[in-house]
Symmetry: C2
Subunit: 535 residues, 2 copies
């Protein structure tokens, strides 16, 4: 699907007589960087992104500290007392009767294998034909066959994750995002729902407000509400959050009327937002970041759809642009992340494999400043502990040992084209079947969601005095009656104290195949015409 | 290692003319029970233990409610608004553009396989020779080959877990524990550290006390302390928690002096406790439960070592008793759990695969009353979400499809004998090498830990005015100097405001092989003699 990586071999920061080039890491320079630091391979071996970043990182200024924004809970967390014993384990010949780790001879797995596609032959059919079986055996490390095996991944591990996977996510982060401060760190997570909940507990007290877009991810809202944290909603347009609205909410904050101090935590899904499908443009991101600096707001960017940025939509019937011709070109198509423009270290980025590999892995990672990620790891040690080692070994075999960064970018380019096709199918169906007099939309530039605006005031019920909720429900049920299920906008409203003026329905093109998307949108068209008594 | 299961085929609660026998589930009656309820197999299919319990369960009284003990956070949790759409998915022919689930064609795994031992040939050597490779392919459910496959387990799932694994843990729970009330439920967890943290947040407010044993699991303590929850320590003997001490702490609670309301949450590791290795006997459990009823205490029983209950220790050189001759006999050797005697539903049991299969799975489960487990699931939905589907499919293939309950009990009997041997090696080494004039111990009946008491007042430093901490550290360092690492008792002290009168060291026999255990204990003996200037 995509051409092989444009390999750019270059050494980085090595003192071999010549001055260090101090280029940020690229796909091509990964092998040279790896040659410099042996990855730790012991059971529960400690590691950190610092072991795997290029020398270019250390030339940057350090992140600011955000102690004043942390919660009582997070500030009070201490390290584990048992970890103090670990320092003695390095003594040669020492026999440890210290840690309560089970012996690997009692793990009832000799090996775990998986059949996976060989880049760039990614389809299910091609995987059957040209895929390969890769195997992790229990003692691959001892036998010199791998940096990670079942002896390690099936035992207890560090919260940060197994070192070889920490290396992979660190390298990926530098290649794609290259944060502008030096002391950034990665830690594996058990998925972004968990990471967001931990972030809420790290930054908020019960009774606080957070800042969100007026429509936002329902589970993120529910996590906040469960902790007694409310959402202060900011206005959006087709690029999502409006910086002027964020500034206004903060500048005019009335602590007495709100019954809460000024918020300091902003939750955003900048690319292909759930539910609106909106994507913050590059300039929009800079503008929002400036407002965050002005009001000292800490940003959580939840980015499961970042690599579902698609080819531009050129109208019904138009073939999509050719795929990016190299990994460099692919990376250039991506809108720079908040992490990439975060000179202060005021962003915690939540990374996920759910939309690009498998939601069932329950492995993701977070990136942020050393201070923030250290607090995150302390939190994990006493709660989620660490991502499943079974999932970690599977992802490691796939992403590092089999595909490498180059193969993963091939995979992502392939996904980009697949989602572009799906998105186009949905937009073409909408143009074909939906009554334009009452239905309107913007082509989504990323993600899985199409957000359809309905001019509900034209609904016959409106003249009869039916309210927004009743008409939304009537349309929702009419679509189901015709055999199509969509989500209603009101499920995603951040602040129910603000009456909804517009009406939206969310349709995903991720799950159903192309012909089903066409048929479902046709049915929705029928339902809308009947509801609005059109034609 | 163990004989085949004594199969007892019998139907349960089926109305085939004869009255229902209403026997609790046994290994033998599982197939008949399964024939009555088809396990849900869809993506993120809902399930509950009620689908899988025997009819005998429903004849029992319901659990009490514990609303008055729940935290503000837990009481306030609501269900997910998006879940309301799920009810419509049953409509025939409906096309869903509702849920944001990725299409399984983009999961880059055609299959996942594992090589596992065939019961009863469990050793690593036997696994290489007679083990078998089992495979989960992406579309096994569609192809009629399995109740769980990659299409389902690699996608999003319910917090309770994949239905076929919920079935397995429910059956296991009824076979082993058979709770005395009707409305018990199981939910998968992401491991017991997470479950304990969730329980703390479900039952405690910042500033509260919990009840613990005077020495307890350090990570459990750290989780509590991080949330601003302190430990009220109760005295122990060689069977762990003393019910009289628990009663005394509760009866004499001075809210003003403590600066906190009376506690209502008790944390215990009843079998092979970490760090003391103590195991609550059957009568001890009844006595503690009575005190819990008297003071309306809710009990969290954290039981990773339950199946590491060992054969009795008969003294140095004595061969261990023969293994249990049947699964029934094996189950009879196990001390009844708190869950088994919990007539009120005031116990949340934390189950773990960490010490019996693999800590790296990060899959466990909890058992409790419907009310408590429902709150647990609501909490999970907005935090950990669910256990890794990759780990779930691996455990399902091993525990259900390959071994079944019978094979798992064979495995556990095998582990019991292995740990018995390890424990015996350590005790024999202690008898051989440790100076009895200052070192004493009780043979652990379960778990991984040996708890060695040292008469620190005989240490030369004591006469010179050295305190407990200094002498403990001196012995700890002397052992390291000789090449043996153990854990010091003070790392596990629940309440540091109470001065330690005794001194202990914890040695595990789980990690090191037999000859290393012997050598390590010899080194500790040398260190002790030198420290105490003996001989």
């Amino acid at each position: 699907m995509s051409p092989p990586a444009a390999v750019e071999p270059q050494d980085q920061g090595v003192s071999n007589g010549a001055p260090a080039t101090l280029e940020p890491l690229t796909v091509g320079s990964v092998p040279a960087r790896r040659a410099k630091t042996k990855v730790p391979t012991g059971v529960a071996a400690a590691s950190s992104s610092d072991m795997f970043k290029s020398a270019a990182c250390s030339t940057k200024p350090k992140a600011k500290r955000f102690d004043h924004l942390l919660s009582i809970e997070s500030r009070g967390r201490k390290g584990s007392s048992l970890k103090q014993a670990a320092q003695y384990l390095k003594k040669p010949g020492l026999i440890s009767l210290g840690g309560g780790l089970p012996s690997c001879e009692y793990f009832p797995f000799e090996s775990i294998s998986m059949k996976i596609p060989t880049p760039p032959h990614f389809s299910e059919k091609e995987t059957i034909e040209t895929g390969k079986v890769v195997t992790s055996a229990k003692y691959d490390i001892r036998d010199g066959k791998s940096d990670l095996d079942l002896e390690v991944s099936l035992n207890y591990g560090q919260s940060i994750g197994a070192a070889p996977l920490v290396r992979w996510v660190t390298e990926h982060t530098e290649i794609v995002h290259n944060p502008p401060y030096s002391d950034w760190q990665c830690s594996l997570s058990v998925g972004s729902t968990s990471s967001w909940e931990i972030a809420l507990r790290m930054f908020c007290e019960r009774g606080d407000y957070i800042l969100t877009e007026e429509y936002t991810f329902a589970t993120a809202l529910e996590a906040a509400i469960s902790l007694g944290v409310r959402a202060a909603a900011c206005k959006m347009d087709d690029q999502g959050l409006l910086p002027e609205s964020l500034d206004e909410v903060m500048s005019n904050w009335d602590a007495t009327a709100r019954g809460a101090r000024k918020p300091h935590l902003l939750y955003i899904v900048p690319s292909g937002q759930n539910p609106t499908g909106s994507t913050h443009g590059a300039q929009r991101r800079k503008d929002i970041y400036k407002v965050a600096q002005k009001h000292d707001i800490f940003i959580v960017e939840d980015e499961p759809y970042y690599f579902l940025q698609m080819q531009p939509y050129k109208g019904a019937g138009a073939a999509p642009d050719a795929p990016p011709s190299s990994h460099d070109e692919f990376l250039k198509t991506l809108i720079p992340s908040y992490l990439n423009i975060d000179v202060d270290g005021r962003v915690l980025r939540l990374e996920s494999f759910s939309k690009v590999i498998s939601p069932g892995s329950r492995v993701g990672w977070v990136v942020g400043s050393e201070q923030i990620v250290e607090r995150y790891i302390r939190h994990s040690e006493c709660s989620t502990q660490t991502a499943s080692g079974m999932a970690q070994i599977i992802l490691y075999k796939l992403l590092d040992e089999s595909w490498g960064h180059a193969g993963y970018f091939d995979w992502l380019i392939n996904l980009r084209m697949e989602y572009t096709n799906r998105r186009n199918k949905m937009l073409e169906a909408c143009e074909k079947y939906l009554p334009k007099s009452i239905a309107s939309w913007n082509p989504p530039a990323a993600g899985m969601f199409h957000w359809i605006k309905i001019d509900w005031r034209q609904h016959p019920g409106f003249r009869e005095g039916k309210d927004h909720a009743a008409i939304e429900d009537s349309i929702f049920k009419a679509a189901i009656e015709e055999g199509a299920l969509v989500s209603v906008g009101s499920w995603f409203v951040a602040d129910h104290s603000i009456p909804e003026t517009d009406m939206f329905f969310r349709a995903t093109y991720a799950a159903a195949p192309g012909d089903k998307i066409d048929e479902a949108i046709r049915r929705i068209g029928v339902a809308l015409r009947a509801e609005f008594k059109l034609e």
